[in-house]
């Protein structure tokens, strides 16, 4: 399975569109202080004001600048996405690969844990715990990561199991290679496209979960999150404010998810040779 994930993404128009959207949102989040006139928590003096030069998206029910909250909300979303993706994929690879390579009781214990965790939807546990402790950003990231690694571990394990049956692994074993060496120089490189696809998947789920918690109103009241803005704005659909309050926030969230979705799809499609058009079909498509 020699796949170049970068080429797969670069040759897919949808994935490129996804990358572009994501890059725009990252840029907006990074430049948030430059692009806004008000700090997201500051009271501007007017509630429910219409969009104007100072408040590009007007103000909300607490008189806060919506544009500013939108940009700072992007930071929360991106931090959660990145944090969860890194922690979750690390756990997945550590558990999945070590279980496959070491085997025996070690493997069965881990796989029991993975299977049991896999059967409960993470969001149920998330809601339950969040309802009691209203987690802040760091705890949210840790919680989502702890709940989402088992799926990846399962996939990594089965991949490593099939990889370690290859001839060149046996060959290196006859030369006395240990587990660590085999993993580092023979298995990890083969796993990298899979790991990339799963990282995107984890990030997408994290964005959704964080927004979902905000939407249900069980996240930390101090964090600015798109989900929470939507939760807040949904109470005022009878006023005109939804046009510049609810709609842009929801669209920003949806675009982020769609962007991650496109990138993920293209990475997954690249790994499934059945879905990649053969040379003949590809030339037809280009006509």
């Amino acid at each position: 399975m020699h796949i170049d994930p970068f080429r797969a993404v670069a040759s897919d128009r949808l994935a490129l569109a996804g990358l572009f959207i994501l890059a725009t949102i990252v840029l907006m989040a990074v430049l948030a202080p430059v692009l806004t006139f008000f700090s997201p928590d500051c009271y501007t003096g007017h509630i429910f004001s219409r969009p104007s030069l100072m408040n590009p998206l007007g103000t909300d029910s607490l008189g806060q600048d919506i544009w500013s909250r939108l940009l700072y909300g992007a930071r929360t979303t991106l931090i959660v996405a990145a944090g969860v993706a890194v922690i979750s994929i690390t756990l997945s690879v550590l558990v999945g690969a070590s279980a496959a390579l070491i085997g025996g009781i070690y493997e069965s214990i881990w796989m029991r844990i993975v299977d049991a965790m896999y059967s409960v939807p993470p969001i149920i546990v998330m809601i339950l715990v969040a309802a009691y402790i209203r987690p802040n950003l760091l705890i949210t990231i840790l919680m989502i990561s702890l709940l989402s690694w088992p799926e990846g571990a399962r996939i990594i394990r089965s991949q490593v199991l099939s990889l370690k049956e290859r001839e060149h692994i046996y060959a290196s074993q006859t030369f006395g290679a240990g587990c660590m060496h085999i993993f580092k120089s023979h298995i990890a490189p083969e796993l990298s496209p899979l790991i990339m696809a799963m990282t995107v998947q984890d990030a997408r789920r994290a964005v959704f979960m964080e927004a979902g918690m905000g939407f249900l109103g069980v996240s930390d009241p101090m964090t600015i999150s798109w989900g929470k803005i939507i939760h807040q704005a949904l109470d005022f659909t009878y006023l005109d404010v939804w046009k510049w309050w609810l709609l842009p926030t929801g669209l920003a969230l949806s675009l982020t998810l769609v962007a991650l979705c496109f990138i993920g799809f293209s990475l997954e499609a690249a790994m499934d040779p059945r879905l990649v058009p053969g040379p003949l079909e590809r030339s037809q498509e280009q006509c």
Binding site: D115, S119, V120, P121, V125, I127, V129, F215, L275
Partner: protein, 327 residues
């Protein structure tokens, strides 16, 4: 004997998962700072709490004894089917949930059925026109839609068709106090169902479409399809009877596996449309910090999800012998 093993292993997983949720339910309120009774019953209860009731509840939960006694009391309560008392609704939690569950099931099953039928038909059509405009258009637009968070899709439909155009009712499952009967009642019910179901279908249909399409593509390349065409089968028959029927197995199992996900999404959609199902109940429980109700809902959801998963797993290993050997 060997055939029983995967089934037993599966059931063991589900028992472990259920035990994990039980222990979370048990431990969370008791680990919270402050009075555990307050954490178990939430803010709503404190208002109507009398000293007598407090003493009774402390005795019921064995809060004045060791944690093993508390655990025993908790498990005994569950075994009696006692999920606690909702102080917000002034009723048994189980009764409150059972009143809302039919609405949720109605939404979920209706959306699932519609999305599956549409997804399969579009998937087969797209597969037989692979690479052409219709195929690429459908794939791109459905991928776009399936990336949407469902609750925002609901909000979008609500804003467009409910708030701006005024074509559909904004909340609820039936018009309150309308006293409609017969056909009018059904019409009212359907007009309230239309938007939530549409929102669910729009997001769901993409996955079914993509699975059907990719399966049908690989099946259309098989030689029996060429044979069917050679003996003069109509294109319709080739598409639906030959390739369509054979691509159903992955669709069925995949659909089964997505039911838990759908159930959760339905809860969010219900909150958007104030649909009187379990989702709205969850929202109320969260907002009023009615913890017994919250725990009851999440427990019920877990049991539902685990049952569906177990069923699908068992069905899957029956349908596809390769899965049986993998365990």
């Amino acid at each position: 004997m060997k055939n029983d093993l995967p089934g037993r292993g599966l059931i063991l997983n589900y028992v472990a998962a259920l035990a994990a949720i039980f222990s979370l339910n048990f431990a969370l309120p008791r680990l919270m700072p402050g009075d555990p009774l307050h954490a178990i019953y939430g803010d709503e209860a404190l208002v109507s709490m009398t000293a007598e009731m407090e003493a009774h509840l402390i005795k019921q939960f064995a809060l004045d004894r060791t944690w093993t006694d508390q655990l025993a009391a908790y498990l005994m309560g569950l075994l009696h089917g006692d999920l606690g008392f909702s102080y917000y609704y002034k009723d048994q939690v189980s009764a409150v949930i059972m009143g809302a569950l039919p609405w949720t099931l109605l939404l979920t099953l209706l959306a699932l059925a519609i999305a599956t039928v549409i997804g399969v038909i579009m998937g087969i059509e797209a597969a037989s026109r692979r690479g052409r405009l219709l195929d690429r258009g459908l794939t791109a637009s459905l991928m776009f839609l399936s990336g949407f968070p469902m609750f925002f899709m609901g909000i979008l439909l609500l804003l467009i068709f409910g708030v701006s155009l005024g074509w559909a009712p904004l909340f609820g499952a039936i018009t309150p106090y309308s006293g409609l009967e017969g056909l009018d009642y059904l019409k009212d019910l359907c007009s309230h169902l239309a938007l939530p179901v549409a929102a669910l279908v729009l997001v769901l249909v993409g996955d079914t479409f993509l699975i059907t399409r990719s399966t049908a593509i690989s099946i259309l390349a098989e030689s029996f399809i060429m044979t069917a065409r050679a003996i003069g089968c109509s294109e319709f028959k080739v598409k639906y009877a030959h390739s369509g029927r054979n691509s159903l197995l992955p669709v069925v199992t995949e659909t089964g596996m997505r039911i838990p996900h759908l159930l959760i999404q339905t809860l969010f959609i219900e909150i958007v449309f104030s649909y009187p199902g379990v989702g709205s109940l969850l929202n109320t429980a969260l907002n009023s910090r009615d913890y017994p109700l919250l725990q009851g809902i999440l427990l019920l959801l877990t049991v539902l999800v685990l049952t569906v998963n177990l069923f699908v797993d068992l069905l899957y290993s029956k349908l596809d012998p390769r899965v049986r050997y993998a365990h």
